[in-house]
Symmetry: C2
Subunit: 424 residues, 2 copies
């Protein structure tokens, strides 16, 4: 047993995303030592990451130091280290900060981008998962305008072409935000180019954008994007990416800036667990979200392939991860306290929402569907509400009000490029 000095069993949680944070929160004051391992020092509110990538918000406004969140919970320890692998037999996790033994383990390591077997595309078409991704995309987008201002006329069109690959919520939000940046925030700032004529394309391989939304809302979103002069192309399958653009089955698009919002794959730690996986590398779990044959190991969030009561896959969204985190904590608490196990996990789909731009969003909650300005207000309030910390809520609400009135962007910074931190 991996008990601590007080003889309490130890629960180790890998990953401080929505699922991991919720599980740890629900284990506060449980009769166990809880160790939360994350390679970052901050929890990130990923749904607003595209706003950092498009200069609307600053990184600190959507991130919060993990250990600060749990500072008052003395049974919770936060370790900044990268989880490397899990030894199920020995009940130990290997991390960059050493080995950690566990009695119960929650794997909540999330997902990374998937380039469908072409990892070399990442250098040309970065995705959006971390703060470093977001500031890197921000640098690329803003630098494209800077380069175009100095470039010979013949090169300006390519420099001012922005291609977003993937028509899910992230792709739609990025396309809308890039278009607004060009048409509004930057419109007066250059002398040799007119940013309003920047070309923004949204490519979706499937038959329509926003496949998880009802068709009429997706069609509305497409009309709003087109009104913002975003070229929406469905059935557009990317067959190659390089430094100068993207190749489709029916032709090439020359572009300086490519952004990847198309596919995700489970993190390595989850993909390497000795169990069945789905095509995206997510671990297939039992109805109580534990690993088959290993009731002491749970996998949740984007690391897990979970199906609901009807056999449909649970979507990889924040509310689903949070419900799973809370559920797993209940299972563990029941065990710790010698109570009987709760019934199998049941996913309750609250709804879907996506914003397209200034004053336009789509919302589908049960029988409630909203769009346009009302949807956008709902979207804004919901996102501010779910941020961690009163300070972040106030600051983000202020930043949005300011941007809405002035049509400006608060964080138009081009800062240095760099690899993610190694070691820690």
């Amino acid at each position: 047993m991996a008990t601590d000095e007080a003889g309490r069993p130890r629960v180790v949680v890998l990953g401080a995303g929505f699922g991991g944070m919720e599980a740890v929160r629900a284990l506060a004051r449980a009769p166990a030592e809880v160790i939360l391992v994350d390679r970052r020092n901050h929890h990130l509110f990923q749904p607003l990451l595209y706003q950092v990538a498009t200069a609307a918000l600053s990184p600190a406004e959507i991130a919060w130091p993990i250990r600060h969140v749990f500072r008052r919970e003395k049974n919770i320890r936060v370790v900044m280290a990268r989880a490397l692998s899990v030894d199920l037999a020995a009940r130990r996790v290997k991390t960059t900060g050493g080995e950690v033994a566990y009695d119960q383990l929650i794997v909540a390591t999330g997902a990374a981008h998937s380039y469908f077997g072409k990892p070399e595309w990442e250098a040309f078409a970065p995705g959006l998962k971390t703060l470093e991704d977001a500031t890197a995309i921000r640098r690329r987008v803003l630098s494209a305008f800077e380069k175009a201002e100095c470039a010979p006329v013949g090169e300006q069109a390519r420099l001012l072409t922005f291609v977003i690959v993937g028509g899910g919520p992230t792709g739609v939000e990025m396309a809308g935000a890039v278009a607004e940046l060009a048409r509004d925030a930057l419109k007066r700032d250059f002398r040799r180019i007119d940013p309003r004529f920047a070309r923004v394309l949204l490519l979706e391989a499937g038959p329509r954008i926003l496949p998880t939304f009802p068709e009429h809302l997706a069609a509305y979103a497409q009309r709003v994007l087109q009104a913002m002069q975003v070229e929406v192309r469905t059935g557009a399958k990317v067959i190659d990416c390089d430094a100068n653009g993207v190749a489709l089955e029916d032709g090439r698009i020359e572009a300086e800036t490519l952004i990847w919002a198309a596919g995700v794959a489970a993190s390595e730690v989850a993909a390497e667990l000795p169990c069945e996986h789905d095509r995206a590398g997510r671990a297939k779990v039992t109805p109580d979200l534990s690993l088959p044959g290993h009731p002491e190991v749970f996998v949740i969030g984007d690391a897990a392939a979970v199906t609901d009561a009807k056999g449909a896959p649970v979507p990889g969204i924040a509310p689903a991860a949070k419900q799973q985190g809370k559920y797993v904590a209940r299972v563990i608490r029941a065990r710790l306290e010698g109570r009987s196990a709760p019934p199998p996990f049941r996913y309750r789909h609250a709804g879907d929402l996506a914003t397209i731009g200034r004053s336009a969003a789509i919302v589908k909650f049960d029988r409630l569907t909203l769009k346009g300005f009302v949807g956008w207000v709902f979207w804004s309030i919901a996102h501010v509400y779910f941020l961690i910390g009163l300070r972040n809520r106030i600051v983000v609400a202020l930043e949005w009000s300011w941007s809405w009135i002035t049509r400006q962007r608060a964080a138009r910074l081009i800062v240095a490029e760099g690899p993610p931190p190694s070691g820690l």
Copy 2:
């Protein structure tokens, strides 16, 4: 002549610091084409950079996109490129974005750190000039606590030792801010270490800290620092820096984190101008701030060695650079408009101010001297006032109020390391 299509002469300004920005602002609507060249896309409010380095403010709160500031001035063009060298004979500037011809040139390229002939120290003891420097120092400071939390007990003392080299205003402000971070913001967040026992040292080679301030104010600052358990050592000359600490003439200090606030040297472009320079590489200029023998080339701010009417050197501070920028713009406007030249540059010293920490600052303005809480309020209002843009003023005022009430830091992010951008 480097005239544009309208036949207007061209003024090129290198550097968008305090001096360059002020010069360009004063040349708005002048009968000339003005080209402002900077390797960054933002003007940086350097006096508050230490607050980014110590997690109190976000980068975007003290930076503003240069071209946005001048968006309405059609005679002003902003070019994001690095100035490489000046060809005085051909009246051309070489930049990473190509060559630019000029009729009048203002060199306002500022200063970099000086390691007194030991550039290899920079890797161990980074200085604080750019946003990248600030986020790099923030990462090092916050990571030191993270490492200490996981380290064997014997290594914790070294990991929790922070050495700031240089007892000028920047060093004093950094020392106070690091001490506050450890003693207040982080105090509850760790389990295996107590951040309140972190050791913070301020090393000054000279006989006292804050040599530009009256002695009684410097003594007060030292007492405040000591009350915050900062060890202030004067007469402490650094003879070596490495990855594990710093060597002084009378012994060694083992420390994970070194921060350099000791010396500056003029930027390369200024240091390579064919003229006399002072020991820091600053170009010695004539009484109208032009280069001897080149009345069409001006050097201002930290790039120039300027003496006041009494022969004393003008200090390398923001108000001095701004006065010089404004003066040089007046000289150029007089030439453009065929008026007689203004009298030689005269520096008016407004005063000195430095903050030491929560509710303590020192202010010396003419006969007015302030310290303690009153000084701190004065310091805060002055700094908010001088920020560019109403939005930044509001956000910084709010951040400070919030931090003051909660004793928390808003931007405790550890994000990736990286070299400054190349090319652009």
